[in-house]
């Protein structure tokens, strides 16, 4: 509990970190209460008060962000779409951190053959281009949120693994680790009780960055048309606008989802920057 409070205190000190946190929390709330906030069903065609089909309407009192060519309310799409974005972002951030941290810890601490194997694996994953891989995997396995998530997680742990491993290499030389060995601590205890708490700040830097890249990747995948056909997502909204060749005509269709993506991705980077100041005290201003 103490750690969490310390956590927030430090984030609050950095203005950008605060802003990032505020944006993230707002979106999370929107996502949680989405069904109550969205005025209409995002996939249902809407009609104007006078009964006519609400096709390509600019923002109005009934439709805050206007409507699409199919008459769908853009605002509802953005609100409901936040769910996909956040699920992808948060799940992938957590999963890639868990995998990356453990790979880094084990690889860095044990060294030798284990390290070689894990690092060669990481190198291979590094060689794979992120977006094309996600697209190909989704194309093979079928477009679904789960497959997109899987593809993202399979790749994005690589940065965390490398960075954490390098931190572990330095940490394991420190005297308090030697002292733990003399006390009789076994390897697992040293890795998870002694080393891990000291790498958490750095891991969080990459967790936040992972959030951003995951959201961006999912949006890109959906934009290209490989997103889950049954779900509403910001990328899909943009995809529909593109397919309808409406990008130049209906700015209201494009700007809101684009802005939502931008804001959420930025928030991840701001938070990551704030963590970096904790993880690397040399960055802190005196």
């Amino acid at each position: 509990m103490n750690a969490l409070r310390e956590h927030f205190e430090i984030l609050m000190k950095d203005r950008l970190g605060m802003i990032g946190m505020a944006i993230l929390v707002s979106f999370v709330l929107i996502a949680i209460f989405a069904p109550y906030i969205a005025p209409y069903d995002p996939m249902e065609s809407q009609y104007r008060p006078d009964g006519s089909f609400a096709r390509m309407d600019p923002p109005s009192r009934e439709f805050i962000f206007g409507t699409t060519r199919m008459g769908r309310d853009v605002f509802s799409q953005v609100v409901i779409g936040s769910r996909v974005a956040l699920i992808v972002g948060i799940v992938s951030a957590i999963a890639s951190t868990l995998i990356g941290v453990n790979v880094g810890l084990i690889s860095g601490y044990y060294g030798g053959r284990i390290d070689n194997f894990l690092m060669r694996l990481t190198d291979i994953v590094y060689g794979v281009p992120f977006l094309p891989f996600v697209i190909i995997l989704v194309a093979i396995l079928g477009p679904s949120l789960g497959n997109t998530l899987l593809a993202i997680i399979l790749i994005s742990w690589r940065t965390t693994a490398r960075v954490i491993r390098s931190q572990v290499l330095t940490l394991k030389q420190r005297v308090f680790i030697e002292a733990a060995k003399v006390s009789g601590a076994g390897n697992l205890r040293i890795i998870y009780r002694h080393i891990m708490p000291n790498i958490v700040p750095m891991a969080l830097v990459y967790t936040a960055m992972n959030l951003s890249t995951a959201i961006l990747t999912e949006a890109s995948v959906s934009f290209l048309g490989y997103g889950d056909p049954l779900l509403v997502s910001w990328g899909k909204t943009l995809h529909m606008a593109y397919v309808a060749q409406a990008i130049y005509d209906a700015w209201w269709w494009v700007v809101p989802p684009g802005l939502a993506i931008t804001l959420l991705v930025l928030s991840g980077f701001f938070i990551s920057r704030a963590y970096e100041e904790i993880a690397n005290p040399r960055l802190r201003q005196r």
Partner: protein, 326 residues
Amino acid sequence: MEPIVKVSDLKVHFSGRRGLFQSLIRSEIKRVKAVDGVSFDIVPGEALGLAGESGCGKTTTAKTLVRLYKPTAGEIQFERQNVAPLEGRELREFRSKAQMVFQDPYESLNPRFKVKQILIEPLEIHGLCSSYAERTKRVKDTLNMVGLKPPEEFLDRFPHEMSGGQRQRVAIARALVLRPKLLVADEPVSMLDVSIRAGILNLLSELIRDLKMAGLYISHDLSLIRYVCQKTAIMYLGRIVEIGPTEEIIREPRHPYSQALLAAVPVVDLDVHSRIEVEGEAPNPIDVPPGCRFHPRCKKALEICRNEAPPMVRVGNRSVECHLYV
């Protein structure tokens, strides 16, 4: 009294890594002979000082004694058992009886652990004390033993919330909480301010005496060793060149290196000036001179010193490894 620790011909060699080029030309792997045949005993309640300059192998010896390194050769008899080859459960059992205090009080404590956690951990690892309440009591007792009173005031503190002297006391408490039989101290006061060193030195002397532990005290500063240790061993380039009662060695050093070491010690006395009796610096443990290791710098070197390694010769109460005394 029967010694609780008997080290015989201990050797700790590290192999330098071969680069690609050296592998190609198949050059010999250079080995760093950090400790190259060291023998000594320690009796319970007694402190043995290991003195020498950097590169002499004293820290490696200390760390090998608590099995942070595995000996390349030789025996470490602890309570009649050779602990040199131990692994796994047996090694862990040995660890509950042999503990170490490190040089840097700012680094030897995990910055994220509170004092309570630092001290309880060894008890948890070895399954000592049957309940949390008992462990907490042992922790508090140990804090009292090292002079951190009242213990409650220190239990919830982090290392950065304490002074250097306090941190070192916590480090000593961590070693003591297991009530070990062997305590190794590696330059425990060199990073502390001068005016608080005395407190830590007095504490260590008393603990070794009162708890009847075997103590090994590492330092390059002979005046500190004089204060804490009854016996002293002077090391040079991986070997002990002189070992015996501290007062005797200090008053009348016999080995030329011991003489040079003692002559060089600066004294807080205006009438005594340190003298330089050797030139140059100790060579790297990779390039150990043949014959007597000290012969290139020794003013009293004989012809035999260049070719033959000297035997350990008994002179009165002590042993000296030098051809001059054969």
